[in-house]
Amino acid sequence: MLLITCPYCGPRPELEFSHGGEAHIARPEKPSELSIEDWTQYLYLRANPKGLHAERWRHLHGCARFFNALRDTTTDQFVATYKAGEPRPTGGAA
């Protein structure tokens, strides 16, 4: 079971969290103006990298807040967790 450091609450067991997919994918400001290709890109296509991955977690059974994490998908080790809205820490593939 992963040990995840909520930026608001501190380290807590994985049981308290839900995973929220890739981070830093902003919903387009005006979706109606997007081409079908761009909308498809936003809706369905994700990086799925081997290595460092910026992803969203929610401390569902705690403070209930969403935050972002940088996790190495090959080792499951977290490099950093940070609040939503903050930039991705440097390191790893984009």
Binding site: L3, P31, S32, L34, F66, T75
Partner: protein, 995 residues
């Protein structure tokens, strides 16, 4: 009476406490402190099981959790029957009742052993090759018979009556293994001041020290040193010592799973004591001091009872006072066996020969054996054994260069001890995803790069000697805890060369000789060679094809030898052959320990509404809807569900019904930007919805498909009372929070789950208003003041209420929301007031029929995650003028408006008495044979008492354009003709909602 193989003195068992026990129906005597295996050996019982595939007679070869052969079942009573236990770990208690497995009718005479005679016909991959065809024979014939013949133990027939607990623990340092390295690590770690947990799978802490005789540590006999060390650790408040506690799994981020066995060793366990406790230990640092496992030698006939690992024999002698035999042949490629030979010699056992594979064995242990006059035969291989149910001779052959042996000599004996050296136990390290490296000097894999906050110490990283294990353990404990401590241990012990041998021994017995690599799964060198010959190169494939290392012992004794054999055949160095993955659990774990208290009533939470008990008192039949218990129908007299539902439906439409809708999900959306937030989330337009008005809301996912629906009431300009489906509330709230927190954090909105706060009493039917009239205060119920799809706040029987005028039945309807605590009182008040008006309680089944008669969808029943609002006839709900809402862009994709999309329609069977099956398929023409062209499916189907016929809703390709068409629903009794009709079956004008 002393058992024939018991020594006169010595051992850690309690000779003052004799214990009687039974094995396969025969009663024996042992002592407290014995294992089942040691007590049976003491009684001269060598035969303890039959092998898995060939049913060959097997004895115990090990003394611990690595034992592959001696699997037994222990029975306390009808419900407490534990199969597949290793006899080496079963602690003796008075009256213990045990039996062997995998034999019929008896252990000594086993019919299944014809497999052994047939073994030339059961090669590697036999099951894959033989039982593939015909396919149907697998279910009917092959599998049941294979299972019956191969059963490893049987399941208990009753539910497990024991209790299992589960706890979390945190510590700064977890030490796995209580041998010399682990104890030293704990001593050092404790000085760091943090919490230290030491867990060991054995009955006693001490590891190899429990069978040492002549070693001294710091000038004391090792026994005394061990006792003092354990006492000093036990006295430390920051140290927790766990015995009978197996670290079975190394999970991510230093979470270690440990099962502690609390009662299995007791003759009469206290009923209040749990049988096992599962520890989930989160450690800042882990020290693995898991020790090593002795490797068997791979030679022909190496599986005969009476052949055992040399160090196991030493453990039986020194720890349990049991001699493995009276005249023993020792076969070895490692110094360790000399230690066993010396100890046995001192105990009066005749050493018939020490056959050493090495041409020039040297070193202190070898010299000591020479000095004791033991008959050492250098450059000598064991090439066979004989004996029926116990070994009676060993065949020894001189080695004549690579792979060649000279003329054999037959040596009579009643036991053979073997040793290929020791394999570091890297199981947990490997589970932690640490990287192993091949050590060409020690011929073994050793821990290299850690993936977790972890370090290995002692024999599990190749530090085999007592002195180096103690020093290594102490250093690891100090480093793990950060304690600035150092200590030296003065050790006097004869230490051997750590190097051993792996792979198959040379022999002259031909290709059909059976040299076992994996005892538990009956894999021989011949099987491994055949796999390579048939083209398998990867060790992972060879493992699966031959099943080597795949038994419950996880290949503890076999993995390295299998690698050696395969590398030899492939002519590749071992590191190029690779290594199979070590998987948890290290030893089998009971389901009880994993389940803990999550069984029966505690398996899953049960949610019950405030009205639940009233419904139960009325005899309601309940159904599970997500975690909720919902009243399904209220039978009267001898009514079945069909009769009850017909009566309930008619009563609602003719008079009035009362329905518990408390399970509806409810979310309070509050804040200055609440309306804007609702606009962005739901497909509907909310800005113009007046305070006190309601609207049916539809929620799509971003891909444009319907995910939830429900009535939303505007309580105030900045406050919405949102309802969701019963099962959908957490998902909808999660989705709302996601958008609010991450996409639109600028919106000033708060979301609160209020599902449990409100009891909801639905009153549906022409008499609903009349029933309510005398109950409410401060609410004008008149159609003008409170029209359909509006709400008012006031009191009902003095209780504050949000009264919604809504209808999910098509009748005049109200939904009374009151605080959950008042739910039952208000319900009973309404119930009493309704008696003169024929008020009838109804359940979810009637609710479904009533809504289907009106063509109202259930999200998740009509929709399946691929239906757009338009597909289910909800285009009218979509706010077309809105610039954006979740799913809007996706709905504009061309595919979302293809005319042949499945669309919601009504179906009438030509014969109104026929009720279609929900889920049944729809086809356009009759008489098709599979594969048919399927154009739709039935989503809801009921008998409508009010209409006097069946009705159905269906999703049909281009359905709305097919109105009036005849279609068919294929069924086991033939194609059922149906006609496409509008979705609203009853009161299509919608007049009844106005009472």
């Amino acid at each position: 009476m002393n058992a024939p193989f018991r020594t006169a003195a010595g051992g850690r068992h309690d000779r003052g406490r004799p214990v009687s026990f039974s094995f396969d129906g025969k009663t024996y005597q042992g002592f407290a402190g014995d294992t089942l295996a040691s007590a049976l050996l003491a009684n001269g019982v060598c035969l303890m099981g039959r092998s898995f595939k060939y049913h060959r007679p097997r004895g115990v070869i090990a003394a611990g959790s690595d034992e592959p052969n001696a699997l037994v079942s222990v029975q306390r009573d009808a419900a407490r029957y534990a199969p597949n236990l290793r006899a080496t770990q079963v602690e003796l208690y008075e009256g213990l009742s045990s039996e062997s497995q995998n034999r019929w009718p008896s252990l000594a005479f086993d019919v299944g052993s014809v497999n052994n005679l047939a073994s030339p016909f059961i090669p590697a991959g036999f099951y894959y090759k033989t039982f593939m065809w015909p396919r149907k024979a697998w279910d009917r014939f092959y599998e049941p018979n294979i299972r019956a013949a191969a059963g490893l133990g049987r399941s208990p027939t009753e539910a497990d009556p024991d209790r299992y607990l589960n706890r979390y623990a945190h510590c700064e340092v977890l030490v796995v293994g209580g041998g010399p390295a682990g104890l030293a690590a704990a001593l050092a770690a404790a000085q760091g001041g943090g919490r230290v947990i030491l867990a060991d799978e054995q009955t006693e802490l001490g590891g190899s020290l429990l069978s040492a005789t002549d070693a001294t540590i710091d000038g004391k006999p090792s026994d005394d040193w061990l006792a003092e060390t354990l006492a000093s650790l036990a006295a430390l408040p920051n140290v927790t010592l766990l015995k009978r506690a197996t670290a079975f799994g190394y999970f991510a981020h230093n979470m270690i799973g440990v099962t502690e066995r609390l009662t299995d060793h007791l003759a009469a366990p206290n009923a209040a004591t749990p049988r096992e406790r599962l520890w989930n230990i989160r450690a800042k640092q882990v020290v693995l001091a898991a020790g090593s496992i002795e490797r068997p030698l791979v030679f022909p006939d190496n599986d005969r009872p009476g052949i055992l690992l040399a160090d196991a024999a030493r453990t039986y002698l020194n720890r349990y006072g049991v001699k493995p035999g009276k005249r023993v042949v020792v076969a070895t490629g490692h110094d360790g066996a000399y230690r066993a030979a010396l100890d046995l010699h001192r105990a009066g056992v005749e050493i018939a020969a020490i056959a050493d594979l090495r041409p020039n064995p040297t070193g202190p242990l070898v010299e000591a054996a020479r000095a004791a006059g033991l008959p050492i035969r250098p450059a000598c291989a064991i090439t066979g054994t004989s004996g029926g149910l116990r070994v009676i001779t060993a065949r020894l052959s001189p080695i004549k260069g690579a792979g060649q042996v000279g003329p054999a000599q037959i040596v009579p004996c009643d036991a053979v001890l073997m040793s290929g050296g020791f394999t570091p136990s890297v199981h947990l390290f490997s589970q932690s995803r640490g990287k192993l490296r091949w050590d060409q000097d020690l011929l073994t894999y050793l821990p290299d790069q850690s993936a977790e906050q972890e370090r290995s110490a002692g024999a599990c990283r190749g530090r085999f000697g007592l002195a180096e294990a103690l020093a290594d353990g102490f250093a690891a404990g100090a480093a793990a805890s950060g304690a600035e401590v150092s200590r030296t241990f003065a050790v006097e012990a004869l230490e051997g060369d750590p190097r051993g041998v792996i792979g198959a021994l040379p022999h002259d017995r031909g290709v059909n000789a059976k040299a076992f690599v994996d005892w538990q799964n009956d894999v021989t060198t011949k099987d491994l060679k055949l796999a390579v010959r048939e083209g398998f190169q990867s060790i992972e494939h060879i493992k699966r094809y031959t099943t080597t290392g795949m038994a419950t012992d996880q290949g503890k004794t076999s993995n390295l030898n299998a690698l050696g054999v395969v590398a030899d055949v492939l002519h590749k160095p071992i590191p190029e052959v690779g290594l199979t993955t070590f998987r948890m659990p290290y030893t089998p774990v009971t389901f009880g320990a994993l389940a803990g208290l999550a069984r029966g009533d505690l398996f899953d939470p049960v949610r019950a509404t405030p009205i639940h008990d009233w419904a139960a008192e009325q005899g309601a039949v309940f159904e599970d809807v997500s975690l909720w218990k919902r009243a399904r129908y209220f039978p009267r007299g001898s009514e079945d569900m069909e009769a009850a539902v017909r009566r309930e439906c008619v009563s609602v439409r003719a008079g009035c019904g009362i329905f518990d809708a408390s399970t509806l999900g409810k979310i309070e959306v509050v804040g200055p930007d609440a309306a804007e937030f609702m606009n962005r989330m739901y497909v509907n337009a909310w800005t113009k919805l007046g305070v006190g008005k309601c609207r049916y809301g539809v929620l799509c996912r971003e891909d444009g498909f319907v995910t939830d629906d429900g009535v939303v009431g505007r309580i105030a300009k900045d406050r919405f009372h949102v309802t969701t489906t019963t099962g959908g509330a957490p998902r909808v709230l999660g989705m709302m929070e996601d958008y609010l927190q991450t996409e639109w954090p600028d919106l000033n909105v708060w979301l609160t789950s209020t599902t449990e706060q409100w009891a909801v009493i639905a009153l549906q039917g022409p008499n609903a208003r009349r029933i309510l009239e005398g109950l409410v205060e401060g609410i004008d119920l008149s159609p003008e003041a409170l029209p359909h799809m509006s709400l008012a706040e006031g009191r009902i029987r003095g209780v504050p209420t949000r009264l919604f005028r809504v209808s999910f039945s098509g009748e005049l309807g109200f939904e009374i929301n009151v605080a959950a605590d008042h739910g039952r009182a208000v319900w009973e008040a309404v119930w009493a007031a309704g008696q003169p008006h024929g008020l009838t309680p109804y359940g979810t089944e009637t609710m479904h029929v009533l809504r289907a008669e009106k063509g109202f969808i259930i999200v998740g029943q009509e929709t399946d995650g691929t239906a757009t609002p338009d597909d289910v006839g909800l285009t009218w709900a979509v706010g077309k003028a809105k610039p954006d809402f979740v799913g809007k862009r996706s709905l504009a994709r061309p595919a979302m408006s293809e005319p042949d999309r499945k669309q919601l329609v009504g179906l009438y069977t030509d014969d109104g008495a026929v009720v279609l099956e929900e889920g049944a398929q729809i086809v356009a023409t009759a008489g098709q044979t599979p594969p048919m062209r399927l154009i739709g499916h039935v989503t809801s189907s009921y008998y409508s008492a009010v209409l006097g016929r069946s009705i159905a809703l269906a999703m049909v390709s281009g359905g709305r354009a097919r109105l009036g068409e005849s279609l068919y629903s294929p069924s086991p009794v033939g194609d059922i003709p149906v006609k496409v009709v509008p979705t609203v079956f009853y009161d299509p004008e919608g007049a009844r909602v106005n009472g």
